[in-house]
Each structure stands twice: as C-alpha cells, then as structure tokens.
Symmetry: C2
Subunit: 191 residues, 2 copies
C-alpha cells in the first residue's frame, strides 16, 4: 500500500474514533456511564455493535478515551493559568452544558464502588488542587488576604466550581454560574 | 382483629419498610440509582423480589422513600440554623461516608435526562439556598464583610459543601472536609 493511502486510512480511522467519543459523551450526559450502553453509542454513529468493538473493545476503553478527550479541552499549561482565566472558563462552561453534564454525571458516579472513573478523578483532583494552589500563590503569595495559605484555599476553589455546576445544570434560570464564580473570587481577594 | 394486634402489624410493616430503605441507601451508594436493582435490595433484606414489591411497587417509589428519609435527618427548622451548626453538620457528615456517598451519587445522576430525582434536587436546592440566605442574613445583616448580599453568597456556601464532599469521598486522606469547610467560613466572615 503506498504511503499516502496508509495515511488516509489512519486519518479516517481517527476521525471515526473521534466521532464515537463524541457520541459516547452525549450518551453519558443523557444516561450516566452505568446507564449508557455500547448499543446506544453504536446506533448514534451508524455502526453495528460489532463494528464499534473494532474501535473500542470494551465499554471501559471507551470511557478512558472520553476522559482523555475531556482533559485535552482544558489543557492549559500550569504556568499559564491565572485567576481571571478561571472566570473565563466558567463563562465558557456555561456555553457547553452538554459537556458539563457529562463531566458532572461521571464525577457523581465515580464515588460509587469500583467505578472505572474513580482513579481518574482521584488523580485529577490531586493535580488540579496543586495547580490551583500555584495559581493562588502567583496571585497572592504565601497568604491570601484572609490568612489562608494557597494550599488551604485550593480545595475550596475547586469545590465551588464543581458545586456550582450541579446547581446550574439543575436550574439554569435560578443560578448564574459565571457570576456566582466571580462572587467567589471576590471572597478570595477581600482584604 | 383487636386494636393491639393491628398496631403490632403496622409497626412490623413500618420496621420492614425502614429496613428496606436502609438497604436501598447502601445499594445506591455502591452502584448509583440506575445501577441499583430491586433484586439486590430484596436480597439484602432477605425478601423475594415479589415480597419487596409488596412494600414498594416500583423502583421509583423506593427512591422517593430514600429521598424523604434523607431529608428527615437534616430537618432543622430554618429559624434554628446557624453558621456554626453548618460546621457541625460537616463534622457529622465526615462520620457517615456511606450516606454522603448515596447523596453524592444521586446528585450526580440527577443531572442526566429524565432522572427521577431531578425534580427533587431542583426543588431542594431552591429551598436550601433560601434557607442559607436566611442564615447569612441572621449572621451578617444585609451585606457580608465582602460586600456580597446573603442571596449572592448562599449558592457559594451550598456549592462548597457539595464540592468538598466529592473531593473527600474520592480521597479522604488528602481532603479534610470539616477543616476545609471551616476555612470557607473564614473567607465568608473576613472583613
């Protein structure tokens, strides 16, 4: 097979994989991971279940691809994060409720026994808290105006973002997520 | 049937129902609601599925009983809540991870399409935000030291409690939930 054709095949296969991951994101948003079936994902992309298994041999391998995809969207190098960018991230999230729904449903499920996303979220939060502590240190130094250290304020910053997402998904008319997150930044910065 | 016997029967039936609700709480903590089966609940209380259906004719009616039970534990009249009691609630929750797990798994699932707990959580958060605004007003008056109104700080208070629960359930060694919640109260109260 000439080189050019091999590349085309790989590209098509990668496009197909990306399409499957997008379909899986939608199905998880609608039903959660435990409620999602490979049959539903296959149907959404016009594949047979057998055809889907060619790309992702198990439901868990598909979940791993979904979680990797999710992390790539927000992949900003640690050194580039700033508090005001977090407010922009809240604005951005408010424009993509489907993605926030997938993530929030998976986080909720991840605390149940033996869930395949549990280790992913546990490691992710260790990394995110460390990254947020760095952002806070860059902004405020060793002590925030309240006297808290960056390491003690970091889990609160993460908790507010996650917790507001649930309130907003359930009731977007009552909860203005980006405005509420900016209110929290006011609390952090008050002297 | 003499009055006394009827009472005994009702009491036994109520005890049985309470036992089933406790089993359902455990099964939901382990598998989420969509992953929970009536068969698993029945097995845990030593009933046949047919026997379980006598008490709860559908999975949804059992869920309603679970959510009602949950709300009764925290039933403190609005006028009795104070900020320092919320810190005690965080202490108390840290001693009952199973219950927090049930609740967090259900909240996560509730944002998926057509989930039977969605309306419950939506209404609950409207009520909890109003109740927390009242607590903050009693403590600080019309403006918190940061300048936020009680109504704008309330969703943040609720979000921190929920968000910390996920971080703590995933990684209790790294996250001291009650201490982190008290740190948030410091942020709220700083002038």
């Amino acid at each position: 097979m000439p080189y050019g054709d091999a590349m085309t095949t790989r590209t098509r296969s990668e496009e197909r994989r990306a399409e499957i991951v997008r379909a899986a994101l939608e199905v998880i948003a609608e039903r959660g991971y435990r409620g999602a079936s490979m049959a539903a994902v296959a149907e959404r992309v016009g594949l047979t279940q057998q055809g889907l298994l060619h790309y992702f041999p198990t439901k868990d391998t598909l979940l791993v691809a979904v979680l990797k995809e999710r992390d790539q969207w927000d992949a900003v190098p640690d050194s580039q994060w700033r508090l005001d960018l977090l407010a922009s991230l809240a604005d951005y999230n408010a424009m993509r409720p489907g993605i926030v729904q997938t993530f929030s449903a998976l986080l909720g499920e991840s605390v149940t026994e033996g869930h395949p996303a549990r280790e992913f979220f546990t490691r992710r939060y260790v990394a995110v808290r460390a990254s947020m502590a760095q952002v806070l240190r860059a902004e405020y130094g060793e002590r925030l105006p309240s006297g808290l250290t960056p390491e003690r304020a970091a889990p609160l910053l993460v908790a507010v973002m996650d917790g507001l997402q649930y309130q907003w998904l359930l009731d977007p008319e009552s909860v203005d997520m980006p405005a509420a997150f900016r209110d929290f930044l006011v609390l952090l910065g008050e002297a």
